[in-house]
Symmetry: C2
């Protein structure tokens, strides 16, 4: 029995009685965006996804209105990227507080605008409300031409694990925000990897964005595919330099930045070893960076070099602290401490 | 100069700098759902829309979790209906309060489920968050085959005005809820007119749902098309019987139920007089009810039989009371009183 993630259990309970859609291709949790067949007999599929920015606003992690607007776009676009969809556009439902400053309102819209421009999409429409609290919900609509969307399901033992960029910046930003570390906080402006997602469709056997951090992503892929991961000898070298610097200043072991729940919105994907070389060459010619992380293993969990091993049980235990874990300052620190202890215990076995 | 509606001005200000989408067919405010061309050269268009239930929850108008779930679906599906789209599915982003009762959570999901079943669609996916307040955002995805989507723009002087059902139930429900009128409150379970929308695509020159009440709908169509409306002699006869009863019990003139801001989610549409007969016959054979309301006129505003006339200025003045007008008990009553005075003044000119 794979141990339950409480947040997944809540979602399963909520959706268990809801009617499903005839054209839907993916099952629950199986892909970052929902995949829908538009017409029978055609190879055109839609990718749609919705994401609200709630805990990050309530906890104060996203306090800058520009960042809130930016993330309302990027969190959704990143889900499109992970299935290899081409964006058609965004819908933005915003609830603005009665007393929101005009300058904050402007910054919020500028964040939406700049993020949309960066990924080359636009805003189709939305819904504007005035209410007691700032609340932002984005929806991204994309299409998958040719029908070969990526999903989280499909990786096999022996596949190689890659990411589209260095990791750890989300948790470094959270640590800097919550712990008030000395020096400038690292800049947090994730970019949805749309171009990379389109490129990867030809190669990847599974793909998921790292919006919840590397370890949660590996854990989810492991559960869905009944496999585990072995990370490379130099896996801590895949941490972004500015995240590593922050960790040093804060006195945190850098690897904790890969375990925390605040991700960097890179794509994590698997490729069969016999297409690896071709992918590397194609990526080089398109100037897309690729970061080798490890290998898919038969043994579940995440195995670290030098004997460390996170079991799914340990990962679930950490993730189950509270549904709202890591959305409050003290929870975030407890989260890091606990996952550190888990790793310690696992390493000592 | 058409007077500004303040809420529209806010939306215009918010979106003015946002990038638009290449495939989008409609302009701002021009249709209930956004219309997007999927592929150049095909006649397939997507209809997408997002709607959050905010003021209704904060004001206590929707206190029943089942109704909140139901409306999260129906408000969005109604926008699809108004463009004549066929639903592909829903996305639901929900933020549930930490302390929400399991029974309330269940009722919320049942509302979503029952509403989706009634309109024959399903839930593709969503986003579940835990936060300080209940917040629900729905997104509906639909397709328009053949490309002839309906919009709010296109009606001409002389066109006839129809609705898909009797009116007033939304404001009757609001009046009963806010004024605690004696007797049972009228049942409020609007049904998105998906089937009617598909039917109307062949006939209607413009279409909009009455989610904001009849007068706001007429006012919006009037502004967009540079026209006005003359209502039929027996226009008060188009009020739903249970709404009329409520008005009598509450001591409100029944016509106020058409002026308030809480609509009934019927479709309001216009047809050229030379296709009216054919439409009536087709509707009868499909057992779709049609309610004749009036005529499109050159003079702006809404003209009532026996000399009454709401000018766009009067309507704008009422709608501009506050962006959050009518989302609080006292505002709702003030709203009704003011619009009554406007009508009075107009009638006396």
């Amino acid at each position: 029995m794979t141990p339950l993630i409480r947040e997944h259990a809540l979602v399963e309970q909520l959706v268990s009685h809801l009617p499903r859609c005839a054209g839907q291709r993916n099952g629950l949790f199986e892909s970052d965006a929902e995949l829908v067949q538009v017409n029978e007999g055609t190879s055109l599929a839609l990718a749609v996804t919705t994401d609200a920015i709630v805990e990050e606003i309530e906890s104060g992690l996203y306090a800058d209105p520009f960042l809130i607007g930016w993330m309302t776009v990027m969190a959704n676009m990143s889900d499109l990227a992970a299935v290899g969809a081409e964006p058609l556009g965004l819908l933005i439902a915003e609830t603005l507080p009665h007393d929101m400053l005009p300058s904050d309102r402007r910054a919020l819209q500028e964040g939406i605008r700049d993020a949309a421009l960066v990924v080359g999409t636009g805003v189709l429409g939305g819904d504007t409300n005035v209410g007691s609290h700032l609340h932002m919900t984005g929806t991204a609509i994309g299409i998958v031409r040719g029908g070969n969307a990526m999903s989280r399901v499909g990786c096999r033992v022996g596949d190689l694990v890659y990411a589209t960029g260095p990791l750890g910046i989300g948790n470094a930003f959270a640590a800097a925000t919550f712990m008030h570390t000395p020096g400038d906080p690292p800049r947090f402006r994730p970019r949805a990897r749309i171009r990379e997602g389109l490129f990867l469709r030809t190669f990847a056997t599974s793909c998921m964005d790292t919006s919840d951090g590397l370890f949660a992503t590996l854990d989810q892929l492991g559960r869905l595919n009944g496999i585990g991961f072995h990370l490379d000898q130099d896996w801590e070298g895949k941490i972004a330099p500015e995240a590593r610097e922050l960790a040093l200043r804060a006195g945190l072991p850098p690897w904790m930045l890969l375990c925390g729940p605040h991700g960097e919105f890179e794509l994590l994907f698997t490729v069969p070893s016999d297409v690896e070389q071709k992918m590397i060459e194609s990526a080089a010619s398109e100037r897309l960076p690729l970061w080798h992380l490890g290998t898919v293993t038969e043994e579940p969990g995440v195995t670290l070099p030098r004997g460390g091993h996170f079991t799914p049980v340990a990962l679930a235990a950490v993730q189950n602290r509270e549904v709202r874990a890591a959305s409050e300052v003290s929870s975030f620190l407890d989260f890091l401490r606990d996952i550190g202890e888990c790793a310690q215990r696992s390493t000592e076995r």
